[in-house]
Symmetry: D2
Subunit: 267 residues, 4 copies
């Protein structure tokens, strides 16, 4: 069911890879709500092909961009504005990857070049994107910029390793740049802190299934799915939330405010 | 502009007094979004008459209830279900009043009978309402219960006095009961922590105008209005936010995450 | 081992019942650190006799007071100042009791007269105590007022029931009154949010042992004991912490910032 | 006045530059409390000479180390253990520097190589230090690792620029590594979030004096000085705080929990 919440709005969505991606669902739902979309991902991700089908289906342009490259990001913003025939109303940043996790280096045995790359991909890309858009005045008045985060930014999940710091950085960028965007032209910047989600990336992490189940038991409503997250993202892009900014918003079935669940004790 | 977000949904709205009330705007917007509404307020508030005009305009029933009386609350819930021909989808609790503030007792010279009454009206009423609805199984699956709060629950605003504690209580009730509602039938419970608002109640508090201006300067987007708050409440009642529960959500133009604003230093 | 941290300091300690009480350990440690102590508890608690032995051993006066009675609290403050030959340097509030829990009423079936009494004993007593001391100017410059809390003030532990709200209230009183005390004469007010502790009161709660074990596993350093809590309280009474005020300080082996512990998953 | 709180304890202190440095005061106070100290700073800082006088006065060794160099940090740890004749009991990390701020680049015009360097100096150095110490098993059981932070990690102070992100990173490292240290040998890791302090570094930042005054007015006890911060650091190194870990502790005269101060409105 759709409501026309994003009619006449135009947005860029980062990070759709396949139908397990949250960004994939956001793109579909945003389209259903009337938005015009530009999809983007790293060149290597685009070669997989699935996202091309999505692009066709939702009538979106697909622009490859390395999110760590200011040049690529600026080109993406410019091309998007050309396609849209005007400025941008919303952006979703849904990018994260840890080299040390992927290469199975423990948190107590970090390789710092990899950590730098992890931060660059997962968090600094968000600042680069906002700085590019800020400089070229690319956002419409009352636009909405959103990034996906995780509660590891506040609490320790040992297996999440340096992604904890990536998310702390990401949320800090949202707060800091949120001030400047508000002052510039009433654009808001927020992060959504989403339940663990069975994405292709997430499900590869060590012990993910056990952790997913734990989180599901701990959350009174259960883990939030990618579909419900897409609906929440749409609410954040819509005019229903114009005065919400610099916030980290938990979309997690209540996990973040549970101290202990009887269901976990019973496990 | 409306989207039909609350079509076929039925809700009870507490606390509409006059056109400055947030609850007033929520009622109007919820009606515009397709909801069927029951309005309620204390018998003395209903005598003022303005709310009767609102009720007519949005085709709502108006049921007087003393929010501190379990009996009144239970009768309200029962009558509402009769009117709706079924269970309830959403509830807004927008009630608050401090006897010690009203009677100009300092926070260091509290009269404790008045404090007890303040808590009863401003916070315990929320538990009584939820407990009544819980016992009579009055909420539809995936329903949404919402109360309006203020950041004094987290930080000290000396003039706010015992309302700080009232809001701390209120938010705690939302978290605690949120667990039970989720487990019962996936109902969510949240609070919105709203900017200071020029309501008839608020504007009577000592130094309110100065404080309102300070908050406006400190908030990068400025203070959030009652109208924008109504839109945000509607998003919380709608199916866009089904997995958000036990949260306190700042609707405040960014105030809550500002440490210092250059605009305030320039004042 | 003691350091003389509280030499020449005088303090009142509420809530010592028997050797399992945190307050008991605080009294012993404060005495060892050179403080002069007045012990107080409800008249009924004093009849148990154990606290009388403690009082003798640490050379403390023992003054019965009903913590819900302004009259009793004022008498206690006056008598203490007489005994001390001057004002008070520190106070520990370690009081909490839930009638609904004790009488096995569910959180969704609260009896509100009992809830009011619970709040009065567990939280409002803290305001009454501070208000009494404020009015009679009973605290020395740079004094320290402390109350014991629990993380249920922030997160939901279903079995903790209305004590969650009691602790939210308690912490809010600490923040609010902390402002006024700082302005008056640089007195600080804080709460310590302590691990679940095997006190005589705590261990009687439903499922406490299981919960204690869960918390112990979730906390990287394990649950904090009453003895270590006493040491921490002493640091808060000492001149090492003069500029810490209006804070809630977790003394919990790291529990509060853990999202998930592998040890819990392995349970 | 000293209490012998750190008798037989040995610690490394980073970041003492001159008598305005917090680390300088921590070194003096830790020495007065009976600790044996190794002082360290960047080679360029040591050339200034003042720290050499401090080292002599408190009978400390002075070891230059570039905090971004794993090699230097490891050499420092090894030499310190040789000097101490055993493992380390406490470490203070008091390092921070923003290249973009120093070179007057706006937050919306960041140069990313500089940001990377800023993070490396101000935050990643903390991880490198802990990782080095972890691998060589350099900390004694129940040791204490501490870093100095600022509330910009939670809230936006526009002039603080990328140091906000540096502090977010720093605090996240404390939480994440705190878990591993607790599990390894009960070492605790915390950050102290200190009032703005008139250090030689701090006072050079744009508009610092105005901001310092604002913070002082907003804090009910006023801004915390370097001397009082040193006393608080000592409490965190001492055995009074053994079960406090993974925390960010505000030492700020109450600033962090103030929403609005009448003193600021009166400014």
């Amino acid at each position: 069911m759709a409501f026309g919440l994003l009619k006449q709005k135009k947005g860029i969505i980062f990070g759709a890879l396949d139908e397990n991606s949250i960004a994939w669902h956001v793109a579909e739902r945003a389209h259903a709500e009337g938005a015009q979309i530009v999809l983007t991902n790293a060149p290597v991700a685009l070669r997989m092909g699935e996202i091309q089908d999505l692009a066709k289906r939702i009538n979106a342009e697909l622009i490859p961009a390395d999110a760590t490259s200011e040049e690529d990001l600026n080109a993406l913003l410019e091309q998007s504005m050309e396609i849209f025939g005007g400025k941008i109303d919303f952006i979703l940043h849904s990018i994260g990857m840890s080299l040390n996790v992927r290469k199975k280096r423990d948190y107590t045995d970090i390789k710092y070049e990899w950590m730098a790359k992890t931060f660059d991909i997962s968090a600094i890309s968000f600042h680069k994107l906002m700085q590019g858009a800020y400089k070229m005045d690319a956002m419409n008045e009352w636009g909405s910029i959103l990034a996906l985060s995780y509660i590891a930014a506040q609490r320790t999940f040992p297996d999440y390793s340096e992604m904890a710091e990536s998310k702390s950085l990401l949320e800090s960028f949202a707060r800091s740049f949120g001030y400047h965007w508000a002052k510039k032209n009433n654009v808001r910047v927020n992060t959504i802190s989403q339940s663990p989600t069975m994405t292709t990336a997430g499900s590869g992490v060590k012990g993910f299934q056990e952790f997913f189940n734990y989180s599901d038991k701990m959350s009174p409503l259960g883990n939030a799915s990618a579909e419900t997250c897409a609906a929440y993202c749409v609410s954040m892009f819509s005019d229903l939330t114009k005065m919400v900014t610099m916030q980290n918003l938990y979309h997690d079935g209540g996990f973040s405010n549970m101290g202990m669940s009887p269901d976990v004790l019973d496990m």
